[in-house]
Symmetry: C2
Subunit: 428 residues, 2 copies
């Protein structure tokens, strides 16, 4: 549904008008695109990569359960004859509700080489950095192996929404068939909850929305009465703010961002105040890119690559998350260089190694959400009604047209890798 | 939770400052409150009532599954020695997800006299008036005996959200365990949906929200692609806009209004446009009061009471729905008298008999959501922070402080009936 996938694609599209020449050039004449060659002799280049890749998964490497053929071409270039990566690569996906090692296994099978769990960044992976909450009692919302996911992220004391529902049966009243038949005695032996983890879209949204609200409004003790709305409320860490995503259906499906939108709206309507996130992870959050940068650096160190990684290339199919995020991080790097970078939402971020990264370049592929055809119809759509298209990004990421513009638009991941190798003087 | 139930109670409370004398007076000296006596001789009064009651159920007559004792006292006064009502009475509840005759049975058992289904107004009852949609193919959202409820309201061709989900298995993707394992063939043999009925809060909000959005965005054919967002969208009829309600838990629970809030917000975020209701029923909608007025009139006719019913008394426990609704209807009656009444959302309303009603008086009881103690704490709460308390009413019912002020605040339904009898000269 062009008009809807549009929102993001559309803005990218409108910003991309001036890029079409570049797109055409990149498709037609890649050989002419080489950047500064930095004096690598072709034979020596491999030993000291100074760049790395942040690869999105859905719509770039896979579609549904099938690998996109261009991904196999790309990895033929990225791997050396021993089957090792020639440059650092991390997989940055907004998927959640899955364990990191399961995602690594899934990718290994699809891409036909061993992907290490340390190369996989799920939307909630940066929660590992919020160590100040790891010993707190956290309510966790999502589905799949929730408790295992939370434990793997470092959280030692988690309570699921379902456990909370069983401890306080009078809270969850929407489903007539699940209402308690008798009034249970109130309990005072349930240790107070100290924070909320929103890992991914849950099942039965009414139950999670109600119980999360109860925890926030009761300061962690949903059995107790509370004279006032506690504010600021308990810390909330959330991951994956994608409003919509593309699956088999012709129209986009609800993502975790739609759940967050409901929660934010209910919180504001009931309390008159804004729900605040202690951390909001997943693309396009800078935190995710900082985390990816860290993993890239560690990967290079493990491989014994002494030269610092200076240039990152983020390849994705979604202008709103992949392009916006990469550009936002690039902007952050530029400001940091001039000492003007604000610490983003990463208040709980552990002290990181100083960054050697100088740039993060966004590359948009046409094998997923974004399609060049959308641009025309989206422009038509916007033009016909003469109104701004709706903004599908998250509330906390104000719309900035410039950040939607990809540095490069290419056909697929194979072309993206060729483009980068040319720029970095690795052609041939 | 005073600070939250507050929103409504709180505003009522602040508006009620000047009413406290009245409250005290009504409790202490009911006998002095008699209105114009209209010349009834005590023996003849019963044969010609010119007033009727609109009684809320939860928090006025029952609490949970138990009758409130004052309700039995009240009905001892309302019934004649033959067990017949002396004045027209309708029960006006925002409950849904139940059949009218089931509610009548429930009330009969609790109140110990035969309540007729024609005396019961559920939140969706006025949908009977929207006959122009009764032969349309309607998607129906809610729970309980959904199809039976819709049929009883007059809708001949209904599709439940669950039936739609089964017809188009690729639409409902949130629950990982319910996603289709294979990609089913797209189907073109499903007749297009022509409207949406929101009867009450459903179970699995993510499924209903997604499928309702799919129907609205695809103009009723969720299997098809759609180049543009159709707007105005398909007609939506909704009932019960209560954001919160009080059950056993100390804090209020989500009502259907919370579900509607999510739907409205998602629609606006995705399309950039406002979701519009063809009809929005249940208190405080004028439509509900017009419907109640009609039933009161019919009831009086059936009993052979020739005098027109001029005064309605609406007794409820919720300032936001019961008081606001009664006052809004009273205002509407006053404007109609001067030929200035706008037709509200009742575009589809069948031609009604001309109204003889001159007033609708709001009476607030203290046996439910509203409690006089709230007023103090709520004032404290609002005063301490110096901000307006949040507005818990529906988007389409702008906040008006005056409409939150009950004409009378009494202890319970028994006192309410005494008050009315005094005003109408039926005392003694």
């Amino acid at each position: 549904m062009a008009a809807l996938v549009g929102s993001a694609a559309l803005r990218a599209g409108r910003g991309l008008r001036g890029l079409r020449g570049r797109t055409a050039r990149s498709a037609a004449g890649l050989r002419s695109l080489g950047g500064p060659r930095r004096g690598y002799a072709p034979g020596r280049a491999e030993s000291t990569p100074t760049f790395g890749f942040l690869l999105d998964v859905d719509g770039v490497l896979v579609r549904g359960h099938k690998v996109i053929p261009a991904a196999l071409d790309a990895f033929a270039r990225l791997l050396n004859p021993q089957g090792q990566l020639r440059v650092p690569v991390v997989f940055v996906t907004n998927a959640g509700n899955i364990l990191q090692h399961s995602k690594a296994q899934e990718l290994s099978a699809l891409l036909r080489f061993k992907v290490d769990p340390d190369q996989v960044i799920l939307s909630h992976s940066p929660m590992k950095l919020f160590s100040q909450f790891h010993n707190k009692r956290m309510l966790v919302s999502g589905q799949g192996p929730l408790v295992e996911i939370a434990r793997a992220l470092g959280f030692q004391d988690v309570v699921t929404v379902d456990e909370l529902r069983k401890a306080f049966p009078v809270l969850d009243m929407v489903d007539l068939a699940r209402r308690p038949k008798t009034t249970p005695l109130p309990r005072n032996d349930f240790p107070a909850i100290e924070g909320v983890l929103l890992l991914g879209e849950p099942v039965r949204w009414e139950t999670s929305l109600q119980l999360i609200m109860d925890v926030l409004l009761s300061n962690g003790s949903p059995g107790a009465d509370q004279a006032r709305v506690p504010y600021p409320h308990l810390p909330v860490l959330a991951s994956n703010m994608d409003l919509l995503w593309m699956a088999e259906a012709k129209m986009p499906r609800f993502g975790h961002g739609t759940f967050l939108l409901c929660l934010e709206t209910i919180y504001r309507k009931v309390t008159g105040k804004e729900l605040r996130y202690e951390g909001l992870m997943g693309k396009p959050s800078i935190l995710t890119y900082q985390y990816a940068e860290d993993l890239i650096r560690q990967q290079a160190e493990r491989r014994g690559w002494a030269a610092p990684i200076r240039n990152l290339y983020a390849v994705g199919d979604n202008p709103m998350s992949d392009v916006y995020g990469a550009n936002l991080f690039h902007q952050h790097l530029q400001m940091a260089k001039h000492g003007r970078a604000q610490e983003p939402e990463a208040r709980g971020l552990r002290k990181q190694q100083p960054s050697a990264t100088q740039s993060c370049t966004s590359i948009l592929v046409c094998t997923g959400v974004y399609s060049p055809q959308d641009v025309g119809s989206a422009e038509l759509h916007a033009g016909a009604e003469g109104v701004e298209p709706p903004f599908h990004g998250h509330r906390d990421f104000g719309f900035s047209l410039g950040l939607m513009e990809a540095s490069h638009v290419v056909k697929d991941i194979s072309e993206a890798v060729q483009l980068v190798f040319h720029r970095e003087g690795w052609a041939g």
